[in-house]
Symmetry: C2
Subunit: 251 residues, 2 copies
C-alpha cells in the first residue's frame, strides 16, 4: 500500500489566539492538501513569540512530511516568521533578489521601500512560493512552506504548489445523513468500524429543520471498502427505522 | 504586577483536520476566556487517535494553567476523549452517577440507553461541568476542562465556568484603522512598540470598500499605557497623510 504523506499546519499570530480573528486558513489548507493526497494530521495555533515559533517549527518539521505556516511575513515589527525559520534551520537571513525585484517594481519613498524590502528576507537556501496576487512571494525551506496570513494571498500561494508536492493515497469520504440520535446507532456503528479497520467512521450530530440527526462519515483510501461500509451503515439506519440520505462524496 | 493566567485549547476531531468542519470553538473560547482574565496562549487541533490525545493532554496540562478540550465526548466509538483523559491522569474511567441520572431521565430501549450511558464515563475524581442545553455534562480533571464539540453545547458548558476560574490581568485592546499600506507606517510602528515593551502592537492589513488599509491593534493590561501608545499610533497615521479612525475597544 502506498504510504501516507502527512502535513502539519502552523497558524502563526496573536490575533487568532486573542479571538480577534477567526482562522479560516487551516480549513482551506486541509481541504486542498487532502485533494492532492497529503493528509493534514496536526495543526497548531501559536503566538508571535520567537522561541515558540522556532521550537514549534523544529519539532513539527521532523515529525511530518510537510509543514505549512501562515502569517507573520509582512513588513511590520511583529512579522518574524522568516527570521524564526532561519533560526530553526541555523542559517542566515538574506534578501532574496527575486522578491526584492518584485517589490522594487512599485516605486515608493525610501523609508517605505526599506520597510517593504523586509518582506524580501528569506533564510539562506530557501526556494520561492509564487504569489499570484502580485505581492511578495512566500518561501520554502526544506519541507517547511511559509505563506501569508491573509486568506486570499495564502490561497493564491498554495494554489501554485499543485503538482509540486509528494503525494500519497487520497483519502475519500462518503457521507450518510440519518435523522437518528447518535445513541440509536452507536452500537452497530462501532461494529462496522471494527469490521473495517482501515476506514475512519465518524458520527457528527446536527440540528436541522427542527430535527436532530447525525451525519455518518466514512473516510478511507480504498473505494471498495468505503462502498461496503456505506452499505452496512445505510442498512443500520434502516434497521433503526429511518431512511438514510446518501450524501455521496460530500465531505 | 498580577501574574498572567494562561490556557491552551485542544480541538479534538478528525473532521477539523480533514476540512469537513470549520472550527469555530477556538475563537469563542479565546474571546470568552480573555474577558475573564485568562489568556489563550496556544491551541492544537489533533485527530481522534488515543496516544496523540493522551500525550497532548499530558504535555499541555503541565505547561499551561488551564487546558480546555472540545470534541469526542459523545456516545459513538470515535468518542474517546474521556478514556484518554483517564489514561493521561492514570486513573480509572468510572460511570458518574449524576450524569447517568440525567441520561436515564429520558427513557429509551436498553441498547440505546447503553450507548447513551457511555457519555456518563469520566475519569475517577473528575468534577462536572454543567450543560445548560440539557444533555450530559462535561467534566474537569485537575486543570483540564473537557467540553462537547458541538458549538452550541460547548458554549453552554463554558458559560457555566464564569467566575469559577483563576483570573489574571485582563488584556484590553484598542484598534485604529488606517487607510495606509503597512509599509508606510512599519518603521514608526516598530519604534512605538520599542517604547511600549509591555504592549503588543499588531498590524492587520485589510481590503475594504475598494481600499487597502491596515488595522493597528494595541493590546495590553495597562489602560494608561495603551492610551499613550494609541495616541502615538494616531499621530503616526496623521504624519503619513491619513486620518486615523479610532475603533475603540473593538477587538
Amino acid at each position: 500500500m502506498q504510504e501516507a504523506v502527512t502535513a502539519c499546519v502552523l497558524i502563526i499570530g496573536n490575533e487568532i489566539l486573542s479571538g480577534r480573528t477567526q482562522d479560516v486558513n487551516l480549513n482551506h489548507i486541509a481541504t486542498t492538501l487532502g485533494a492532492w493526497g497529503v493528509q493534514t494530521r496536526h495543526a497548531r495555533v501559536i503566538p508571535d513569540i520567537r522561541n515558540v515559533i522556532v521550537d514549534t517549527i523544529n519539532e513539527t518539521r521532523r515529525e511530518y512530511d510537510y509543514v505549512f505556516t501562515t502569517g507573520g511575513i509582512g513588513p511590520t515589527h511583529d512579522d518574524i516568521t522568516a527570521e524564526c525559520v532561519a533560526e530553526a534551520f541555523d542559517v542566515n537571513l538574506i534578501e532574496h533578489p527575486d522578491i526584492a525585484d518584485r517589490i522594487r517594481r512599485r516605486p515608493a519613498p525610501d523609508d517605505v521601500m526599506a520597510s517593504r524590502l523586509l518582506m524580501a528576507r528569506v533564510p539562506q537556501g530557501a526556494g520561492l512560493i509564487d504569489n499570484p496576487t502580485g505581492g511578495p512571494q512566500g518561501f520554502v525551506m526544506d519541507n517547511v512552506y511559509v505563506m501569508a496570513g491573509i486568506p486570499m494571498v495564502m490561497q493564491g500561494m498554495l494554489s501554485t504548489l499543485e503538482g509540486k508536492l509528494r503525494s500519497g493515497p487520497i483519502v475519500r469520504s462518503r457521507s450518510i445523513r440519518a435523522y437518528l440520535g447518535e445513541s440509536q446507532i452507536a452500537g452497530v456503528l462501532g461494529d462496522i468500524q471494527v469490521a473495517h479497520q482501515d476506514l475512519d467512521i465518524g458520527s457528527y450530530p446536527f440540528f436541522r429543520e427542527d430535527r436532530y440527526g447525525t451525519t455518518l462519515v466514512i473516510r478511507g483510501t480504498d473505494p471498495a471498502d468505503i462502498e461496503s461500509a456505506a452499505g452496512a451503515v445505510m442498512n443500520a439506519v434502516r434497521d433503526a427505522g429511518e431512511e438514510p440520505e446518501d450524501l455521496g462524496e460530500e465531505s
